[in-house]
Symmetry: D2
């Protein structure tokens, strides 16, 4: 039976939050149109081959970096913030001690940056500082589409969720919720956070590591529907892959889009805050019993379960879905058979 | 090519709105729990075999009447209001002139009531008055679930939509929108209203007459999600058949539920108001081109298209869906085949 | 004691709704900026001296007409719609019979137009048709500020509210609510409607006739706050005269603005619908007891009570507020004195 | 000219957030009715003289403790959380080193608790753990009134805001915003936080230390209006002291209530999140120029500025408002004088 390791309150270095993601795309203008008009991001900077975007609440220079590439679109970096510059040195020391890949990098608009990989191969990028740019929150008259406020979290497919949970718990991440499946209560998902507002990193069982999606916070259900309307009006209608709906798991309202290259981006309302209190325990969800609990709404379609973005140069470890998995297609077929 | 007949501004009698529906159910307590907790209706009156319900804004005694029956659940009456008592006599005269079934009835909590049938057999019930009961709108602290405000419209499957449109246009109904399909532009749907706030009667092509659904107005998206949550928490999760979403056609936000007997009830936000201005023209929607226009969101599942409530004692005229119809199951299959 | 006259179900001619207002302004560009950016209206047409605006849901050519003038800003016309062209002739006949001023007028973008005055001198303009223009409802990406949907109602100061109520009841208007004040239960306000969705004309006791305000429907509280934010960002902050709040009377959420010329415009959410059912009775509100009932929020400031727009060439009948009137200034003073 | 001291990233002990407040009240049942029905808190525990309440999202045993007392209502404790038990010992060491009052206390439903006072005399209560109780977030059908999610922040009047800012900065609090006033740019307010989601402690210039208010997060504007409606319906209408409105400062939507004993409680929507990034700088607001910037809405009434809750046994240091302060009463008077 799966158990979540005890939280580590004094980790080897102080990660503060998930902060950004770097993706490659085939057509920079198409991606720019999608992310500004539908998701509501603001362009901070653009050069011939790269676009730096941020949410309207963010003063950090970028939370989404898009780089032009003719190759298969991939995720190049999973960005994380640390508290201070000296935490970066501690991070380098920690990765060195574990014998994991790590190297300093010069990255535009960021302070000193450490690139590393977790044991599964996920490319991580740590920095303590970005250039500060104006917060655009107050100009509500300029907010369009989903009016995305700020970067929230990244969900990553992992073939071995328990291993991911162990590694990131040791880095100070706390688990707010986890999903178990099958007769052995195998770990099928863990929702982890460093900041007070979940989440930062979510690991879901799947062929991985692959980036399943990244998420921005949207202010209200009305903004969520505005994003969908914008998708429809600007001919991205089929990009609305799932939702708007409400996760059984934690009652978070969501909608998932696929961007022009197939990268998946979620708009979420504020999740319930899992305060960092000592008494806070991870909440256990039994995949088989979840549907009985309080769910409504159809299950996700197969593409949502199966498709994800490759990390550059990382070959995913194969993984087979457990027998009981019910995608939308399965649900409709079983209902028709009744 | 289908055309909508010209509006009749001075009809033979003055219908003011769609007002109520009478259904049979197998378990009165189960239905009561569903309609009060999930939809948010208020119980006006209950006796051993009948339950009278209304929305929180309504002062009319009932807009939903549920009668206990062990037979197959059916719809007994499609209720319509006329302006005054004398309009009832004009209505009787009109139905007599057309040689259509009609008879006076004593109905509890209603004024003088005329029962009649349209040429397709739909059972209609006209009255000019109901008992007045307190409006419960101001006690917002008592509003639960979808906080349904008031009865809005009824959607009815008809094998011959054009015939229905002709009959109801002659009664003064105006068409705000209509859907055409196929090479001959056959009429697949008409959205008709007497009140300023659409709609009152919607006719959709299908084996009919059958009651496809009836709808209540809900105050906001938040109330709509509260209704869904209540469905989940009270074990009606699978009753959420479609949505929440936004109709491409008119951008109305909706969610459809199936009640414990399979009757379909919709919660809608306010539709765009189709004022009764002289210059107002019916809006034409081409079924085949609708998806290209500005849609997002998955199509409805097959059950939404095919299942409907029988009218008591009325055998539906068969009808075959046109070749191009795309239900959710078809959409997912075609996407998988790409 | 005031009583509301019985409704007239078959009036001399068929008014369908309050439809538009014509105002003079000193600076057309300043007014255009205010009404498009803050209220969210759409410009239909503009020439050197006149601006025609409408809500995003309206297909009628205009609901607000602004004419440039260097004189004191006034209201020139209170626009009303009738059902058909022949109702206009009946209207002319009715005003002739009553010996009231009336004359045919050529008005751009409107069908045949009858101008008339009620016995108090209010300038009325009737038409059955306007030019039809595209509904802009679906392009939600273009909606800004309050995203005003459609014209709703006009509130008019009258020195003799009972006389106004009598006159308009005879024209088929029904009263949904009325306010009484003082030991004699004098009529201090009546809320009247022809359309199903209140209201069309509201008469409030005051030196009159004067136009107190006109109102547009806004989709949600979020749009209402967006309008206020736009006011702040575009330097119209002090134009937010009252609200956002919720009327004790009917629980309608509102905010009042003063436009650059001092004309007052309200954004309201949908009011409870007062269906045209026979059993519907006017709701009586006692001004003195209203505060005890269920109110929260501060009273309106004195300017809201006292200031209003003159009708062109109409000298208001003086009127003195009853002793018990409590404006915000009075309320704060009495609280300080406790 | 005021400057905000540099942040302290490695403070002497690790405070995680503002967590609770302990107040005395005269009538426990009256307070219980107010906080459960209007604010929407949940009762965790009650004995003859004490009531422990929490927000629907909180698993910590209490965030509001009300103790019956016949004396003048006061605030007994300003509760703060530290990360672990060992941080409590570091806290005790720190207060000892500074020569400030501190003592261990046995507090029901809390872990080991340290009581202390800041240099101004504010009574602080630190703990690392409370009893865990069920999160009530998912039972949305039971949420009423403002559906308060969780404790957010406390605002405290201080005669010397700069001194408070210095003391709490040394404890690791970061300043997101500050207000300056007068020719010397005196510090009139500082908004400080330890958690990612502002705020934890706000200090405003005034006779102090006194508790100006404490705040809970509410899910949406609709819940905020539901709280106000509940206030009206349950006869707490005059308790709505200010709002609903939007702070010019940070665009946070708010409403302030006075509880039956005059303690002030705020419902707020999520504030913009001031991430703990290294580049984050305090935002300076000039009190005199704020009104010109982007404000709308009336200023707060005098009672909001002047009235606050005493801390038990702490005599406030006098303080005189600067000449330019504009309360609602002043604003209305100056407008009348124009």
């Amino acid at each position: 039976m799966s158990t979540i390791p005890a939280p580590v309150f004094y980790p080897p270095f102080n990660i503060t939050r998930a902060s950004h993601v770097v993706l490659t795309v085939r057509d920079l203008e198409a991606s720019k149109a999608f992310y500004t008009r539908v998701i509501g991001l603001v362009v901070t900077e653009q050069d011939r081959d790269t676009l730096w975007l941020r949410g309207v609440e963010e003063i950090a220079h970028h939370s989404l970096v898009l780089r032009r590439s003719t190759a298969t679109p991939v995720c190049e970096q999973v960005g994380l913030r640390v508290l201070t510059e000296e935490e970066l040195d501690r991070a380098a020391h920690h990765f060195a001690k574990l014998g994991l890949r790590h190297a300093w990098a010069e990255v535009p608009f960021q302070g000193r940056t450490l690139r590393a990989a977790d044991p599964m191969g996920t490319p991580l990028e740590f920095c303590a500082r970005m250039d500060a740019v104006p917060r655009r929150l107050f100009e509500t008259v300029d907010h369009i589409g989903g009016a995305a406020l700020r970067f929230d979290h990244k969900q990553i497919h992992m073939a071995d969720v328990a291993a991911a949970c162990d590694f990131y718990t040791a880095l100070g991440f706390r688990t707010s919720d986890y999903i178990v499946v099958g007769p052995q209560d195998d770990l099928a998902g863990v929702f982890m956070h460093r900041k007070d507002i979940p989440w930062d990193l979510v690991f879901l069982a799947g062929p991985g590591p692959r980036l399943h999606h990244f998420a921005y916070v949207t202010p209200s259900m009305i903004d969520m529907f505005r994003a969908c309307d914008a998708a429809g009006l600007y001919k991205y209608g089929p990009s609305v892959e799932r939702g708007p709906g409400r996760h059984g798991l934690g009652h978070v309202q969501y909608v998932y889009f696929r961007d022009p290259d197939g990268h998946r981006v979620e708009l979420v309302l504020e999740a319930p805050h899992h305060m960092t209190d000592l008494e806070q325990q991870p909440v256990r969800w039994d995949a088989a019993r979840r549907a009985d609990a309080m769910d409504w709404g159809y299950p996700a379609p197969r593409c949502w379960f199966d498709e994800a973005t490759l990390f550059e140069g990382v070959k995913p470890t194969p993984w087979t879905p457990p027998p009981g998995r019910v995608a939308l297609e399965d649900y409709l077929a079983s209902r028709a058979a009744e």
